[in-house]
Amino acid sequence: MEFLLSKYNYWLYTLIMMIGLYGMLAKNNLVKKIISMGIFQTGIIVFYVSIGAKSGGTIPIIEHTQGGTHGIINPANYVNPLPHVLMLTAIVVSVGTLGVALALALRLYTEYNTLHEDEIIERINQGEGLSDD
C-alpha cells in the first residue's frame, strides 16, 4: 500500500504520455494530432511539477509581513520552486508552438482542402497544390 501510494501518480502520468504518443502516431486528422501533442506535453509537464512536490510543504512564496521580518527560513516548509519555473515557461512556449502548428494545418487546408493526412499525401502524389507553381 505504501509503495502503491508513492508511485501511482507516476504510472498515471505515463498513461497520459502514452495516450498522447498514440494519438500523434495513429490519428489521421491533423488537428487531432495537434491535440495529442498537447496531451503529451502536459504529461511531461505534470511529471516535472510533481518532482517539486514536498509533503508538508506550502506554496513557494515566503511568508512575509509589512516590516520585512522573516526569521529563519526552513527549506522543508516550501515546495521546490525550480520545476515550477521551468514548466511555467514551457506552458507559454507551448501556446506558441500550438499557434505555429495550427497555422501549418490551416495552410495545408487552403492548399489541399482537407485536414486528413492520407488525403493530403494522395493529393501531393497527384501533383496538386503547392507543386504547380
Binding site: N28, G57, I62, E63, A76, V92
Partner: protein
C-alpha cells in the same frame, strides 16, 4: 499531498485525454481538451505549483481552446472515419506507446517516492533559492525571483521563442498565404442576427477594462503573489481576443492594429535585452541587476534587483500580449484580417 483528492482528478484527466482524441468532432475535441487543461490546473494547485496553475488556466484552458476554435472555424469540424488503411499506423502507434509506457513503468521503480522531502531534487539546488531569495532579491515569490533573476537568461530566450512563434505564424498565413481563399464555415456570422448578442456585447464592453486592470495587477504584483509577466500578458491578450469574438475582428484591430502589435512585441523583447545590456554597460555581467543601483536613485543592490525584475516582467508581458493577439488574429481570419469568429 492528499491522494484522496489527487487520484480522482488524475483519473478524470486520463479519461478526458482519451476522449479528446477519440471524439469524432473537432469542436467537441477542443472543448474536452479545455476541460482537460482545467483539471490539470486543479492538480497543480493541489501540488502547490500556484504559478504553473495560473499560467495553465490562462494559457491552456483559455487561449489554447480559443485558438483551436479559430482554426476549426476556418477549416472543417468533421473527422472522417475510414474503416481500412490506418491499421499500420494504429499498430505502430500502439507499439511505440507500449514501448514508451513499458520503459517508464519500469523506470518508476527507481524514482524517489512522490512528495518525498529527502528526494535529490528537493535537497541540492532548491534550498539555496528558498533560503536566499529574500536576502538576495527581496522578492518573496520564489518562482518570480528564479524566473526573472537566477534564471534570467532562460526566460529571455523563452520570450524570444514566443516572439519567433508569432513571426512564424505571420510568415505562414499573412505573407505566404491568401492566394486562394479557403471556404468559410458559414454558421456563426451568417445565421446570427445583428442585434442578437447585444447582451454579450454590453457585458464584454463593461468587463474589458476590469480584465485589463486585473492583468496589470497580475504583472505588477507578481513579486508577492502568484502571477507575473507571462500570466499578465496572456490575460491582456485574451481581453482583446474577447473583444474580437464578441464584436468582430475590426473592433480589436482598431484598438491595436498589426503594426502596433508588432512594434509592441519587438519593444517588449528589446526592453528585456536592454536591461541586460545596461548591466553590461555599467560593468557587471549580462542581466546582473544589482549594478543598476548606480543609476536608480536611492536604492541598494537588493532593491535594484527587485525593480529590474519588474522591468523585465513588463517586457515579457508586452511581448506575450502582442504575440497572443497576432496569432489569434491570423488564425481566425486565415491571414486576411477580414472576418472573425
Amino acid at each position: 499531498m492528499i491522494w484522496q483528492f489527487d487520484l480522482p482528478i488524475l483519473t478524470l484527466i486520463v479519461i478526458c485525454g482519451a476522449f479528446a482524441i477519440l471524439v469524432k468532432d473537432l469542436l467537441g475535441s477542443a472543448i474536452i481538451f479545455g476541460a482537460y487543461s482545467f483539471l490539470m490546473c486543479l492538480l497543480w494547485t493541489e501540488m502547490g505549483a500556484v504559478d504553473v496553475a495560473f499560467t495553465e488556466a490562462a494559457v491552456g484552458a483559455g487561449v489554447s481552446t480559443v485558438l483551436f476554435f479559430a482554426a476549426v472555424h476556418r477549416t472543417s469540424r468533421e473527422v472522417r472515419s475510414r474503416k481500412s488503411g490506418r491499421k499500420l499506423y494504429k499498430g505502430l502507434g500502439l507499439l511505440a506507446s507500449g514501448i514508451l509506457g513499458g520503459i517508464l513503468f519500469y523506470a518508476s521503480g527507481d524514482f524517489p517516492g512522490w512528495a518525498d522531502p529527502a528526494s535529490p531534487a528537493a535537497t541540492h539546488l532548491s534550498p539555496h533559492f528558498i533560503t536566499r531569495t529574500i536576502a538576495e532579491t527581496s522578492v518573496p515569490n520564489i518562482v518570480t525571483s528564479v524566473l526573472a533573476d537566477y534564471r534570467g537568461f532562460d526566460t529571455m530566450f523563452e520570450t524570444a521563442v514566443v516572439f519567433t512563434a508569432g513571426l512564424a505564424v505571420l510568415i505562414l498565413l499573412r505573407i505566404g498565404g491568401c492566394r486562394t481563399a479557403g471556404p468559410v464555415w458559414q454558421t456563426a456570422a451568417a445565421i446570427r442576427p445583428a442585434y442578437g448578442d447585444s447582451i454579450i456585447r454590453f457585458v464584454t464592453r463593461q468587463l474589458t477594462p476590469f480584465i485589463q486592470l486585473f492583468a496589470l495587477y497580475v504583472v505588477a504584483h507578481g513579486h508577492h503573489s502568484p502571477g507575473g509577466g507571462f500570466q499578465g500578458g496572456v490575460i491582456l491578450g485574451a481581453s482583446f481576443i474577447l473583444l474580437a469574438i464578441s464584436y468582430d475582428l475590426n473592433m480589436a484591430m482598431n484598438r491595436i492594429n498589426e503594426k502596433a502589435a508588432l512594434l509592441l512585441a519587438n519593444s517588449g523583447l528589446l526592453l528585456y535585452a536592454g536591461i541586460g545590456l545596461l548591466c553590461l554597460l555599467l560593468g557587471a555581467n549580462f542581466l546582473d541587476y544589482s549594478i543598476l543601483q548606480r543609476i536608480l536613485p536611492g536604492v541598494d543592490g537588493v532593491a535594484a534587483r527587485s525593480h529590474a525584475m519588474l522591468g523585465v516582467e513588463i517586457g515579457v508581458a508586452v511581448t506575450v500580449m502582442a504575440i497572443v493577439m497576432l496569432i489569434y488574429n491570423n488564425l481566425v481570419s486565415n491571414g486576411t484580417y477580414e472576418k472573425g469568429l
